[in-house]
Symmetry: C3
Subunit: 262 residues, 3 copies
């Protein structure tokens, strides 16, 4: 049993995701298909890239990760299939896969051109159904990736903000706001020494926003706190509320982390 994951901006109102699943199951009836999310804002490559990055490593080895946020469908963008040490990644060559791939050991990069694998006639507006779904199904059945098309030297990297580290602070920005209103930064908490126990504070808009604590529960209800988030990044939360709403935070806002002097 193999797993195919789907990350798209197709939403829940229409039949687009269902059609992709129909195509996949017609080729591989036993595959497990998992929705990562279809609630990516239309055309928002960064949101999709972050969702994939935050979740892809929790799936079993050899899973096929398909991401279709594809505003350039029908134009000149290439279609990608990439094999890493643990997974396959399939989607348009527009950067949507690149943030997740930056953490993977890449084994092979191929351009998808083998029309024999596509639905016919290939639509010019829905490659998710006509190209990426059948390609993912074939990969899940063991088709060698080199059968998809020619090898490819490189792929499009999404412009992704990097935090800046100085002697006694790290400055990054908010890159994602989740459904609870938690504001997730691009400051990875792994390099921080024992982050859950570390003390320090997060600053934004020239004021001290909150302390770093191990969990939401470390502060009273409705109070702000920065926690080492489950996606691997420092995250600004309000215990029992929405940090985005309560603190007026939005994607792109700069934040500075200052560890407490020892």
């Amino acid at each position: 049993v193999r797993v195919i994951t789907l990350t798209t901006d197709f939403g829940a109102a229409d039949w687009f995701v269902g059609s992709m699943k129909g195509v996949i199951l017609a080729l591989n009836p036993r595959v497990q298909i998992v929705d990562i999310t279809h609630g990516v804002p239309a055309g928002n490559l960064r949101a999709a890239a972050f969702a994939l990055t935050a979740s892809c490593r929790f799936f079993p080895k050899h899973s096929v990760h398909v991401a279709v946020v594809d505003p350039g469908v029908g134009g000149h963008r290439a279609a990608l299939a990439i094999q890493t040490e643990d997974y396959f990644f399939v989607g348009p060559d527009n950067g949507v896969l690149s943030v997740a791939l930056a953490r993977e050991k890449i084994r092979a990069v191929f351009q998808i051109t083998n029309e024999q694998l596509f639905l016919k006639p290939l639509s010019h507006t829905f490659h998710g159904r006509d190209m990426f779904a059948p390609v993912a199904a074939h990969l899940s059945k063991g088709l060698p990736i080199q059968n998809l098309g020619p090898s490819k030297k490189d792929f499009v990297k999404l412009d992704w903000p990097q935090p800046h580290r100085s002697a006694n602070s790290v400055t990054g920005e908010i890159v994602y706001i989740d459904g609870f209103g938690n504001a997730i930064t691009n400051i990875s908490h792994e390099p921080l020494a024992r982050p859950a126990e570390s003390s320090g504070a997060l600053f934004a808009k020239r004021r001290r926003l909150c302390s770093i604590k191990p969990s939401y529960q470390a502060v009273p209800r409705q109070k702000a706190v920065a926690v080492p988030g489950s996606s691997g990044f420092l995250e600004i939360a309000v215990n029992g509320g929405s940090a985005a709403a309560k603190l007026g935070l939005k994607i792109g806002d700069a934040v500075t982390f200052r560890p407490k002097a020892p």
Copy 2:
């Protein structure tokens, strides 16, 4: 492994879809259940009919398509099970299945009356769970369709707008607006000669709306275009935006397609 698809107006907030899946899996633990959509506006038979029509043929043969938009539940409407050359269709006899069925080769029409297959007590408000789910599960396991109830001569046809063709134009209307704001018409693009390469224009509200092009990318960003849509119909889009919002289009608006004189 068989597939059961679900198309409903049950939404994502409640437990209704989950309950149907529980009933199905209790009868057939190995079936693959696929959501086409549960985001049909409450009671909107046309939206459900179109979603089913646009997606049903992408599923493997012998799939069981269940559509439950059922404002007349508990009243006098009949319950239908229909076998076509490739699929089964199950749902209330209120027209929700009829648009998809108009494209299928119908083999047998049955009324669902066999109470032995229903959950007991049969609720008067949720036949999706108590009647259609178990019937679909039984069909997916190979129960002959004639075991569901008596043969039926006919079924309710949804009033579905047909385009009008004249010597040098086709006039139809907008029948669906998808989550991206694309306005899908009832003008099938298959009969158009080489639609993707055809030239011509779409008119609405007495003004020229846009040209026909093979893909969204054929026009600059934020510009309107009509494309041969992935559902088989001409579709009005705005590259990178919402055609419905930008052009003020809504369901029922008349549109006229004029091919370019050769």
Copy 3:
């Protein structure tokens, strides 16, 4: 084949549910995972408890029901695994499981403490992924529940309103409003004598709201009616409309049921 159900407030926009499914499938690739709902309002234990209660008994025996509405994650609340005659229930010990459990025959109550089963490092903000998902996967594979941790004497009960019965009426309250706008009360219709055929009326805000009828169809369109709902409780509906919007009903509103004198 076993079933794991998921009930959460994680929404559809993010990757949280997908991550849980990845963790589950990495441990048990053949399990069937069913979403009951992820649309519970953030932190709303009552809504989640009701969704689970209304749906859990429609799943096959030995299903593992996981409910993660967990505002206290990372704090001192315990984690529960409970075996009943027919099912397993897994989630935080905050009452979210307790309403469903009140109808089950409880066989064993355990606290989840066995760190060997958790993802490492265990996050302090997402036990759904790091603790409850792997525990559910192990239970679905047959791990004895006593391997999860020590036996537990009791668990937190959610404060759930009980209806008051007098000689000729029952007074309860609205406990849930579903996506159609139906207002579901806490008045169970099973003890009512032949509820579907019973006559009587429902009162709210000192006025007569509607009659009890077997189905929505028993009243004209846009008229109010109380029906024996599919979840086992009396439910106030408007045929073809939203009772909540049309009648101004909300959760917590008191309602009184008066059977007609015989």
